[in-house]
């Protein structure tokens, strides 16, 4: 068996924030184990995450998953993990300006992801959706009509201003982890808000082209068609509640 280079610790029942890391590892064909998806008997399951949060991996105990173990390094926070993996997986250009731009865009994506999540949990993550449905409806309306158009318009102009031709990238002239993350957020928004998404993305042809291009990359295609890709569901960040789609 080849040496496993990376161990990912993330909730085994959702795509969630871990999916941004999974996509980078998959695109690069990296050797990794999605530890919590292993059976309990192989030290997998949610118990693996609890042990990691308890400090079992060494280093500083993280506040929350995703957590990546790479040799002796234990790294948490999605954007931090991707900034670490980018150079190692060939998923970011090598110059300083590009790396700073990549992390900046990833953090803007994280802001969008946070706002998308909060549409169904505006009062508190610890309360049930059913206990904040009315507030969710109000929050989702503003997200659909103000926030999603603003963010997607921003990313569209980012692509528009970078390079030439039909397919443009967020950073540099080749695929980076930012493009993979944009793909994921577009997939998520299309799942959660299909009507609003169709309306907003009529005006974002660059984003539509990027989404299609990423989905057709051979390793991403293989991953999406495999059981390793957890389907979207109503436990994750992007949830399809028709009443929140206007």
């Amino acid at each position: 068996m080849p040496t496993v280079k990376y161990e990912l610790y993330y909730w085994p029942m959702i795509q969630g924030r871990g999916e941004f890391v999974r996509l980078a590892l998959e695109e690069a064909g990296a050797s990794y184990v999605d530890v919590a998806r292993l059976p309990k008997g192989e030290k997998g399951g949610v118990g693996a995450i609890m042990r990691a949060l308890g400090g079992e991996l060494g280093g500083t105990s993280p506040y929350a998953p995703p957590i990546l173990k790479a040799g002796k390094l234990v790294i948490a926070q999605t954007a931090n993990i991707l900034a670490f993996l980018g150079p190692r997986l060939g998923l970011v250009p090598s110059d300083e300006a590009s790396r700073l731009a990549a992390l900046q865009h990833q953090l803007t994506i994280a802001d969008l992801v946070g706002e998308a999540h909060d549409t169904h949990h505006p009062i508190a993550g610890s309360l049930y959706y059913d206990d904040q449905k009315k507030e969710a409806r109000a929050a989702a309306k503003i997200f659909r009509t103000e926030r999603m158009p603003k963010y997607l318009g921003y990313f569209e102009s980012l692509l528009e201003g970078n390079g030439r031709g039909r397919l443009r990238h967020a950073v540099g002239t080749r695929l980076s982890y930012v493009d993979l993350s944009l793909f994921q957020v577009l997939e998520g928004l299309a799942y959660a808000f299909p009507r609003a998404f169709a309306r907003v993305t009529k005006k974002t042809p660059r984003l539509r082209a990027l989404r299609e291009a990423v989905a057709e990359r051979p390793r991403i295609r293989a991953y999406l068609d495999s059981p390793r890709r957890i389907p979207f569901n109503e436990m994750g960040i992007f949830r399809h509640y028709p009443e929140l789609d206007g």
Copy 2:
């Protein structure tokens, strides 16, 4: 006049997210200009931010301030700016594990800051507080009783596990930008939720000691006592609405 090394673009009427950058620049005694606080006649004011968002600084147009210009580099997103400045200002250890840990902690602080903000704007940032007061009350209750204790408990144990003696640091054995950011978030929570903060921090002596120690660092003390430090107010992230403090 000495060469200005850094230009910061951030809203001139609030501490906000820009304050984490201001504190790092001040502690290091860096040469910087807080551009939007200059008079309009000197190309300051909110107009300076609008021009930066419009792409006037070159590079990729950022989604939102804070924005730092350092030579030809134009960098946005608070944690990204601090990860860039840390090594240049001597505010992070030089080894890779420490730098990853610092960015990780900064991003966890950003999550806490986001949740603190959303207590007064749970439905939407674009609506008035008065239009979401009831929802804010519900969100703030959970923030005070669940989230703030969880985050501060986490950071307390982070300090507790790092080093010896009364004063401990978030990363390594010396002050880093993470300690400055912890100071800022403690100041903000103490301002916004004085009753809840006093209760929760009874159990966090390490955080209390760090807050006091940062406030007494000569350059930070001079900054806090200067007109450069904008007072907390009800336009920023941390707002004191007594009805949200239980």
